[in-house]
Symmetry: C2
Subunit: 122 residues, 2 copies
Amino acid sequence: MSDLTTTVSQYLDIWNEADADKRAAAVAELFTADAPYIDPLVAVEGHAGFAAVVAGAREQFQGLSFELHGTVDAHHNQARFQWGLVTAPGTEPVAIGFDVLVTDEAGKIKAVYGFLDKLPAA
Amino acid sequence: MSDLTTTVSQYLDIWNEADADKRAAAVAELFTADAPYIDPLVAVEGHAGFAAVVAGAREQFQGLSFELHGTVDAHHNQARFQWGLVTAPGTEPVAIGFDVLVTDEAGKIKAVYGFLDKLPAA
């Protein structure tokens, strides 16, 4: 449980990391080489693909940050959780998403299956 | 979308199929050979493993049936939905679970990641 909660925290940290080199290093550390990341808007595989998705989201939502919304529900090698896109920590999220993370035996993320629960207002 | 909704329906039908041979045939038809099925209680891979899980659940919850609880949210090759374990169609579920199904390019289920939202009363 605690391992997966840590993994979720490290995963969200990547979305909040401003430095592209640090993001790339963290992605390489945290994900298996060919891990799919699939949400309603994008479907990519591998480190460069996921890093590009994060870079795009950061560009689109400048000044906002991603935080855990609620708690992490985890068992075996999988975790589900909601994340919120917020203007400041603890504020009402402008968008809420939901991810299932699946890790391999070494604890690396081998897949992210994402869904959206609340879309940003247009 | 509609393909995945159909897949979810076929998936739930397996849980409700009383005939073990028909279940095995449906599992072979619907799942890839090595698909993992992982929920809080069990983690198996492949047709025989999943069929055994369904047989065990049917034995434990005799007379109850599984139905879609709410709607299917699907995109790309993945779907999320809640299921309810009910004593009769449309009644308050005694247990509610949540699954993410992932399909391959041919539409076969290649993974099920399950969680529990409401446990049966002891």
